[in-house]
């Protein structure tokens, strides 16, 4: 047991040396984020469980190649997670039917840390900030952003699915991202 709370980077270094306890700690820290993102992307819980396992298995195998100069651990994990989920979506060739991104529909207070009584963690605080920022976007911008981020659609595919001109899609995504960047930059961003 470790009396201190190791940083993400310390955990990854230990995982690179086959420290299963470190992987368990990283899982405790990020499994909720990974599972939530994947479930939102692929729709059904069974696939989300399998991809979550796959993500952490990849972290176990690839911790040795993690490079802190290129991304924070959180960003690295999210990248692995999103790539795996998009792979699954593309293999299924499933698009809008049956499931579509949900972040436009969920009440704000449900999006952030919902564990009652839990002391808000740094991650939970950041979640609230991000959720609030997304909630401020016009619905039409959230819609295209969600298709791009959660479903891995290209500009052209979004235009096709929503029957919008390609230029309109590009503009909406750019405006949405501009606003988010402005909002995030105005916060003190925990990394």
């Amino acid at each position: 047991m470790h009396a201190f709370n190791p940083s993400d980077e310390q955990l990854i270094r230990r995982i690179a040396h086959s420290d299963a306890e470190a992987l368990a700690a990283l899982y405790d820290r990020y499994s909720r984020l990974v599972f939530s993102l994947v479930r939102n992307m692929v729709g059904n819980p069974e696939s989300a469980e399998e991809i979550t396992l796959d993500v952490f298995t990849r972290i176990w195998e690839r911790a040795v190649s993690y490079d802190v100069r290129k991304a924070t651990v959180k960003r690295w994990i999210v990248t692995i997670c999103r790539n795996r989920a998009i792979d699954v979506l593309r293999r299924r060739k499933r698009r809008l039917e049956g499931h579509s991104p949900k972040w436009t529909d969920v009440p704000l207070d449900m999006l952030a840390d919902s564990r009652r009584g839990a002391e808000p963690t740094e991650l939970a605080i950041l979640q609230r900030q991000v959720t609030a920022a997304v909630a401020k976007l016009p619905g039409e911008q959230r819609e295209v952003l969600a298709l791009a981020y959660f479903q891995g659609y290209s500009h052209r595919q979004i235009a096709g699915e929503l029957d919008l001109p390609l230029g309109t899609v590009k503009t909406r995504i750019r405006l949405a991202m501009d606003k988010l960047r402005h909002i995030f930059d105005s916060h003190k961003k925990p990394r």
Binding site: A24, F35, F56, M110, V130, Y149, I158, F184
Partner: protein, 239 residues
Amino acid sequence: MNCEQVRKLLAGLVLGCLDAEDEVALSQHLAHCEDCHRQLDAWECTVGHLALAAPQAEPPPGLKSELMRRINRPTGIAGHVAGASHRRGGFFSWLRPAPAWVLAGLVLVCVLSVGKLFLWQRTGLENSRSPASLQMVVMEGTAAAPIADGTLIYLPGQHEGVLVVSDLPALEKQRQYQLWLIKNSTRTSGGSFWVEPNGYARFIVYSQQPLDSYTAFGITIEPAGGSPAPTGEKVLSSL
């Protein structure tokens, strides 16, 4: 494409939603524009936050136990890699990565000097993780080749390494895969290669500078013989 046009598309690049022709044009510009590259880093930070906006859900309680059981199952390099690939389905997809790694190690031994070979032996090929001195860079398939993967193996300070790729689409003779060694937004060719009909290739990489001095690696499809800078679709990229 000028800087203004590029910056309008950077958000799309980090979201991964650009169409192929925009992505190629953007990559060419970013390869030699430091200012736009800095902007790209800022966008990556923004997009990195978006995952937090997904509606929250708790993973089932048994999932952690399943993970720990899974990582403890295999032993040795073959088992470790097989553990990563066993869900891809099919006997050969389970089996193939193991010889790929072993062969990669053997090829690497062939290109190493006697002194380095001694170091290799000391570090222990039987270790399930890479020896401390051995560097491995994992590359993941892009949307153009989602099931492909690649690994570049080298020793610190060395100019040679071994690239092993699998599940890349076979190309016609007029086109080849080209490895790019990336540092400070500059892309240097690491050589061109074809893959076998099953999508597998082993390739010895020679570089002007030590391989560990590069910060990223990528593979694109280029005209046979290679290009001076990336022009084609990216198929593999280091995370």
